[in-house]
Structure formats: structure tokens, C-alpha cells
């Protein structure tokens, strides 16, 4: 099409560069030191010595194995609960209620959710207080290792409650592309129970659409750092936590070891993904086996009950956790068996605020800027797609997901090395750019569906009225898509606020955000201060979503056609 938006043709290549450039250079920058090459530290020749050193680290295989298990179990439980709940309740009023309850949970950063969980279930946590001493007879917290347990059960629970909202919303986004209402009716009229109908008829096409998002969950859970620091085991910690320790080692030669470890992390995540594909095969085979026998499986209530329970529990844990965080942040004296603090005070906030100002400013600036850039690029890419009429196929979707599937830590190490060499280390620009690598995919995924679903006839009418493409975009399409654009912005903002690892590595302690400060408090265990930081971390994205909801309502208060 002639006369498109002038700069739009530059957007797709630029977007690809931002998605793949850091990934490629980062991986290279990790791989070279892993093989002993890092001239700044005297590594001038290739060697496999760092790997030999890595293999000799005590407990390294246990750490690696633990990461694989965490990735698989987390994904299996979260996906199982989501699929089970959709199967069991699709189309009911309970389903609509769950949808409204769970959407805000997506914006809660992982670290805040993890702290909330810890504050609930720790031996001196709220749940134990609620049943003490009247039920347990305890006057002191029991000596149990619940948080940081060696089997990482608590860590998996913390990941599951946060991955459930993600997978649920991804599934909800894919549902309209299936004929789900009729398919469910048809299956049940053939005598199949709800679960069987869903598993045999709806799940196969649905899963194909959400598969990359599921891969992202597997990869994330195998390589997560912040949740592991807060909830994960200590002896030995999971692989990513050990990598961070080596990376922060004052002895700089530990970088070789860290880089070799980062490549091991890449292999661990790849192994988990291969294992997941194996599980997919086994699951598919079981479904076919049952389906081919025509089993109706009508007595499915235990499974329905279980998936509902897990869904409700995850909502309760995140909301309950946030409430406890808030309570601790304003608590005065709060001794063990008491269910509520004996005094309420703003002292923790007053003390924290002066120190919070700088991290808060950095958080807002980085999130705001990276989101703005991501939005502009996404809109121009989608406009370009509209003008050329060429949709981005499966390949493009994979490229967008790639930064979410390759473990952050494996290429962030290399990027850090690179940024030091380029003199960009701890610079604001480098921080924004690294956040952009993760913000951009989410903004794109969030905006592309409503953009493509937008009625093209409005654009044709605009052209018919003599508007240029640029004018039609600004005067017609963008205003009509205000709600979707602001939602995508809120998603991008909350992704940026939640970033821990890129901020720690690129900000290098000189540029800190609310998230890095909060996670750094994990080891200290001062609940009042953690309460302040984690609660603040959780409400920033929440405000972003509140604005995204309120502004269109205000702008279009006299436009019935643009209401939800």
C-alpha cells in the first residue's frame, strides 16, 4: 500500500533487533568467559577449565536437578489447575467471577507474592498465629523449616500461585478462537462428562495456541532468581541463586565459573523443556487411548473439586499475602501468638520513605520509559502489518517469545560483561534497554489481539474520507483502541517493575529499584521493612491497571459504543 505511516517500515527490523540483539550478544558474552576467554581478567585462550571447576562444585548437580524439578512441577500443577478449572466451570457464573478475581493477580510482582506467601505460612506466620495457641497450644513459633525448605515445596507453591493467573489469562485469550460453547454442548450431548469433553475435544486445539506461553512458564520456573532468594532452599540453593552468588563474588575470577554455570543453566532449562515435550507426548497418548475407547468419564467431580480448590487457594494466597504485607508495614509490636498487631504505626513507612525515594524514582522512570518505547514500536509494527497485509506467522510469534523462553540469567551475564566493556555499565540507558527486552514481548502480546480484531471498515471509511494513513491512525484507530493500548501499557509497566535480575546485573547496585531493594531485604528478615517495600512493589502495577481502567471510562463517559 502506498502512503503508509512513514516510519512504520522501520519498526519491525528495529523490534527484532531489540528482541534478538541483546539475546545474541548476551549469549556470546556468556559463552566466551565460560570457555576461559575474558581478556580483562587475563583469560586469553580457550579452555574448558571453568567447566571442570563447575563440575567439582559440591552439590552442583543437586542444584541443577532441583531447578529442573521446580520447572516441571510448577508448570504441571499450574497448568493442570487452570485446565481443570476451565473444563469444569467454563460458561458458569463462577467462571466469570474467577475471571474478575484473577485478572488483578497477574500484575502482582513475583517477589511481592513470594513475600506474602512467606508471611502467611512461616512458622511465625499469620496462619500459625490464627490457630495458636487455642488449637496448637503453641506460645512460640514451632521450630519448622517451612519457608526455604530443602525440597523447595514452598518455592514451588509461590511460583504456582503466580503462574496460575498468567496461564489462566493466556487460556482465556485463546478461547474465543475455538467454538468452545458449542463444542462443550456437543460433547456433553454425546454423553461425555465436562472434563472428558474438554480433554478430548477442546484442549488439543487450545493447547496448541498457548504452548509457547507454557514453555515460557517452564523456562521461567527453572531459572527464576528472586522467588528462589525469598522462598527457595539454602543448602544447596537452586542453580540460578548459586550463579548470582558467584557473579557477586569479590574475587573476579569467579566470573569464569559463573559463566560456565550460566551455560549449565541454559542446558538445565533446555532439559526441562525437552522433558516437558515428553510429558506432552505421554499426556497426548493417554488422552487418545481413553478417547479411542469412548470412555465417557461422567463421574469427574473429584477432579473438578480439586482444580477449583487450587484456583481458589491461589487467589486467597496472593490476596491474603498482600494483606499481611500491608499489615506488617504498619504494625507496631506484634508478638507471636497474636493474630493482630497490638499497635498500629506509620513508623516503618516514615523511616523507609527517605531511602525509598531514589529507588522509587528509578523504578518509575525505567518502567515508564521502557513501556513507552515498547508501545510505540508495537503500534508501528502492527500498523506495518496492517499496511502490508502480511500477518506475522508462527515464526514471528516464536521470536517474540524467545526472550521469555531463554533463561534471563544465561544472557544477562554476557550483557553485563558487554556493558562494562562499552562503558554503559550502571547507566540509565542500558537499564531501560534491558528492561525493554522483556517489556516489549508482553506489550506486543497484549496489544496484538485487540489490534487485529479491530474492525477494518473504520480504516476504509477513513481512507474514503481522504485521510492519510497517519491521520487515520491518530484520529480513528488509536482513540478507538485507547482501552487496549492502556491495558498493554499497564502490562508493560508491571513487567518492568517486577524485573529483578536485569536490574541487579545492569544497575550494579548503583541503580536500584523497589524490587531489587525488596529482594535484598529477604535475608535480613525485618518484617516491617519488607512489608513496606513489598507492598509498595505490589501496588505500583496495581495503580497502573487502575489508571488503564479509569481513563477510558472518563474519556468516553459519553460514548456508549466504547464502553466495555
Amino acid at each position: 500500500m502506498a502512503g503508509g505511516v512513514p516510519v512504520a517500515r522501520l519498526a519491525p527490523p528495529l523490534t527484532l533487533l531489540i528482541l534478538l540483539g541483546p539475546l545474541t550478544f548476551g549469549l556470546a558474552g556468556t559463552a566466551l568467559p565460560a570457555f576461559g576467554f575474558l581478556p580483562d581478567l587475563g583469560g586469553n585462550h580457550l579452555t574448558i577449565a571453568p567447566f571442570a571447576e563447575l563440575a567439582a562444585v559440591p552439590g552442583i548437580w543437586r542444584s541443577a536437578w532441583l531447578s529442573v524439578v521446580i520447572g516441571l512441577v510448577t508448570t504441571l500443577v499450574a497448568l493442570g489447575a487452570v485446565a481443570g478449572f476451565v473444563a469444569s466451570d467454563l460458561g458458569t457464573t463462577g467462571f466469570a467471577r474467577m475471571r474478575r478475581m484473577i485478572s488483578p493477580l497477574l500484575s502482582v510482582p513475583h517477589a511481592a507474592a513470594a513475600f506474602g506467601l512467606a508471611f502467611l505460612i512461616a512458622p511465625s506466620g499469620l496462619l500459625m498465629r490464627l490457630v495458636s495457641p487455642w488449637l496448637t497450644g503453641l506460645e512460640r513459633p514451632p521450630d519448622l523449616l517451612i519457608v526455604n525448605d530443602p525440597m523447595a515445596l514452598t518455592m514451588m507453591a509461590g511460583l504456582i500461585v503466580k503462574e496460575i493467573p498468567f496461564l489462566f489469562l493466556v487460556t482465556l485469550a485463546a478461547l474465543p478462537q475455538t467454538r468452545h460453547a458449542e463444542t462443550m454442548q456437543l460433547g456433553r450431548s454425546l454423553g461425555y462428562g465436562r472434563m472428558a469433553t474438554f480433554a478430548f475435544l477442546l484442549w488439543p486445539p487450545l493447547y496448541r495456541q498457548i504452548r509457547l506461553a507454557v514453555f515460557a512458564v517452564v523456562a521461567y520456573a527453572t531459572s527464576v532468581v528472586d522467588v528462589a532468594l525469598i522462598l527457595g532452599p539454602h543448602l544447596p540453593p537452586t542453580l540460578p541463586v548459586r550463579l548470582i552468588d558467584w557473579m557477586n563474588d569479590p574475587d573476579l575470577t569467579a566470573r569464569f565459573l559463573a559463566s560456565a554455570g550460566a551455560l549449565l543453566q541454559l542446558a538445565v532449562t533446555a532439559a526441562a523443556l525437552v522433558a516437558w515435550v515428553g510429558l506432552e507426548r505421554i499426556g497426548g497418548w493417554l488422552v487418545r487411548l481413553t478417547r479411542d475407547r469412548g470412555l465417557r468419564l461422567r463421574r469427574d467431580w473429584p477432579v473438578r473439586l480439586a482444580s477449583r480448590a487450587v484456583m481458589l487457594a491461589s487467589v486467597a494466597v496472593v490476596f491474603g499475602g498482600l494483606a499481611v504485607l500491608a499489615l506488617w508495614s504498619v504494625s507496631g509490636l506484634w508478638q507471636f501468638p497474636d493474630a493482630l498487631p497490638s499497635a498500629v504505626s506509620l513508623r516503618s513507612w516514615m523511616q523507609a520513605l527517605p531511602r525509598l525515594a531514589a529507588p522509587l524514582a528509578t523504578t518509575l522512570a525505567v518502567a515508564g520509559l521502557s513501556t513507552a518505547i515498547a508501545l510505540v514500536l508495537t503500534i508501528l509494527c502492527l500498523e506495518r502489518e496492517y499496511e502490508t497485509g502480511r500477518g506475522s506467522g508462527r515464526g514471528a510469534l516464536l521470536l517474540i517469545y524467545l526472550p521469555l523462553i531463554v533463561p534471563q540469567i544465561s544472557f544477562m551475564f554476557g550483557l553485563q560483561v558487554l556493558s562494562i566493556r562499552l562503558g554503559l555499565h550502571a547507566s540509565f540507558a542500558a537499564l531501560v534497554l534491558t528492561h525493554l527486552v522483556f517489556v516489549l514481548p508482553y506489550v506486543f502480546l497484549s496489544l496484538s489481539d485487540p489490534w487485529r480484531a479491530h474492525d477494518r471498515r473504520h480504516d476504509l471509511i477513513a481512507a474514503g474520507l481522504g485521510m492519510s494513513r497517519t491521520r487515520a491512525l491518530i484520529a480513528i484507530r488509536l482513540p478507538m483502541l485507547t482501552r487496549a493500548i492502556l491495558t498493554a501499557a499497564a502490562v508493560g509497566f508491571s513487567v518492568s517493575v517486577g524485573q529483578y535480575l536485569p536490574t541487579v546485573l545492569i544497575g550494579a547496585g548503583r541503580l536500584t529499584t523497589v524490587t531489587t531493594e525488596a529482594v535484598a531485604l529477604a535475608a535480613g528478615g525485618n518484617r516491617r521493612v519488607i512489608g513496606v517495600y513489598a507492598f509498595l512493589q505490589a501496588i505500583l502495577p496495581f495503580f497502573a491497571f487502575a489508571i488503564a481502567t479509569a481513563v477510558p471510562g472518563l474519556l468516553f463517559r459519553n460514548r456508549r459504543g466504547l464502553r466495555v
Binding site: T93, E182, T183, R188, S189, G191, R194, P205
Partner: protein, 218 residues
Amino acid sequence: MDGVTDNQGLVLDGVQIRLGARELVALNARIGRGETLTVMGPSGSGKSTLLACLGGFLDPVFSASGSVVVDGVEITALPAEKRRAGLLFQDPLLFPHLSVADNIAIALPEDIRGRGQRRALALEALADVDLAEFGDRDPDTLSGGQKARVALQRVLASRPRLLLLDEPFSKLDAHLREQTRQMVFDRARRAGLPVVLVTHDEDDARAAGGAVHRVGQP
């Protein structure tokens, strides 16, 4: 009426569907085996709601009363999966991830055991509508008429007690519509199934040949 003995066929006794205070459908009917009741009305009149009610899918915003009895079995309170009420929609709605034969095999009752036997019966059902060679095909590669035939064989393979048709011919072009209509009514008659047809096409009602009930009109 032939085929109707005391408890054969479908009996709708005082079936009434309401949305709040508004009555959408009120109906008494006796539909013998192989006979068709045609329900006509403009869109939004609640005629599809009647089918949802009979199939067991009524949205909880509606309230229904009365009783539905098929061949002497009261199905009013049964969940959808125990009613054996066969459905045909506007679209054939073949399951896109299954082969054409598997689309039919999945409908066969549970008591037909063994993969081999289920597949054989599915292929037989396909041959019955001149689609013998199509068993392993992707349903998406079939023509509109072929899809409609597979959908019909699928619902019959499930051995339903009754058939619920939701404007099943409205999306077919004129020539195909005539042919498909004939085939559906023929086979329902042969299988001795009571049929409830919802449509806004007078030709459908004529072809069905049974009683006509009109809803949503002053």
C-alpha cells in the same frame, strides 16, 4: 399417528421458559417417533433457548418448569451428558483435530468396546453416506455438504433418544439445503427419533411435515 403408543416418543408437558417475569416459551407437545415438531420465531424469540432447555444447557439466567419425557424416561432433571439428546447446529462443527472417522467414532456409545470395532462401525457409518474413502481425511478438507453428512452420521452414531436441530440448514446454499434437509428427515424417521427443529425458514417447516409451534409473536 403411527409409532405413537402410550409412552413412545417425546412428551413436553407444560414446558415453560421464563427470563425474569417475561415468558419466552410455553409449550405442550407430543412428538411421536420419527415425527418432527417445528418451532418457529424471529431471532431473539427464545426458540434456541427451548433447545438449550431440552438439551440440558439452559443458562441459569432463565428459569424453566414443566416436564420432558422421552420414551417413558423423564429427563427433565438429568444433566446434559445423561440425556442422550443429539444436537445439530448451523455449522457442522466437526472436531478439527480428529480425523473424519474419529469424529464419528468418538460419538459411539461406551459399551461398544475395542478400538478396532469402533473404527469399523465409524467407517460403516461413513460408507452409508457415500464417504467410505474419507475416513482418514482432515475434516477441514471436506466440502460443506460432506461435512453436513458427517455431522449427521456423528449424531446418529451416538444413539440418541431424540434429535434437536438448531437451524441446521440455514448456512447451506439452496440446492444443498434441499438435499441435506431430505436426508436428515429421512434418517431421523428411519431411526425412529422424535425431532425438535428450530428455524425461521418456512420451507424447513414444510419439509419436516409435522406440527408447527410459533413463539415470540403477538
